[in-house]
Amino acid sequence: MTKLQKSAWFNLIAVSMCAIVGGVGFSLLSLLNAKGIHLIFIFFIVGSLTGLGICVFYRKKSPEAGFDERERMINKRAFGMAACALTIFLACICIIPFFVLGGQNVIKVYYLPLIFLGTLFAAQFVHSVAILVMCALEDDDEQ
């Protein structure tokens, strides 16, 4: 297994775990609908964004460090697919509620960072899966 594949597996597992834990937590909190729930949402959102910021700005190595030229090419293709997924996901998440709930409804502002994080998770998920699929397709001709 190459470094690119290991990195893709790590990202895939991390994103899946975050999505499952976040999804379950979000659903439970929404169902409970307790007083002060928005404070919990804000705490989780600020925490998630801070973690994301630390990962992006204080990373010591480039994300492509240790990849060879073919792996960089695969990574770029996967990035393109992730950008498409990000656009589609964002379009769906913004347009579907309009038709389902109707134009007169309003949403709470603290859903917006959740939508942002959900979009990033979806893009990262597609990025990792695309890398693993492309590597698997090329690995079938080994010596």
Binding site: T2, K3, D68, E69, R70, E71, M73, C135, E138, D139, D141, E142, Q143
Partner: protein
Amino acid sequence: MSSDRLSNKVRRLRFDNGELTQQQLADRVGVTRQTIIAIEAGKYAPSLPLAFKLARTFGVSIEEVFEYENER
């Protein structure tokens, strides 16, 4: 409509040069074994620097390793 194809003799040259394994060749040119596999299978066209590294590893010119075919 034209079809470009880059064929190569990497596999044969590996065996002609002391039966180098894909991993040994990959280590010498600084890529992964999967990249060597992809090049040998014609699934990946290497960059010019990597093509030169491969040719120098085998001690031959780049034209002896890679052949460009353009069918119109």
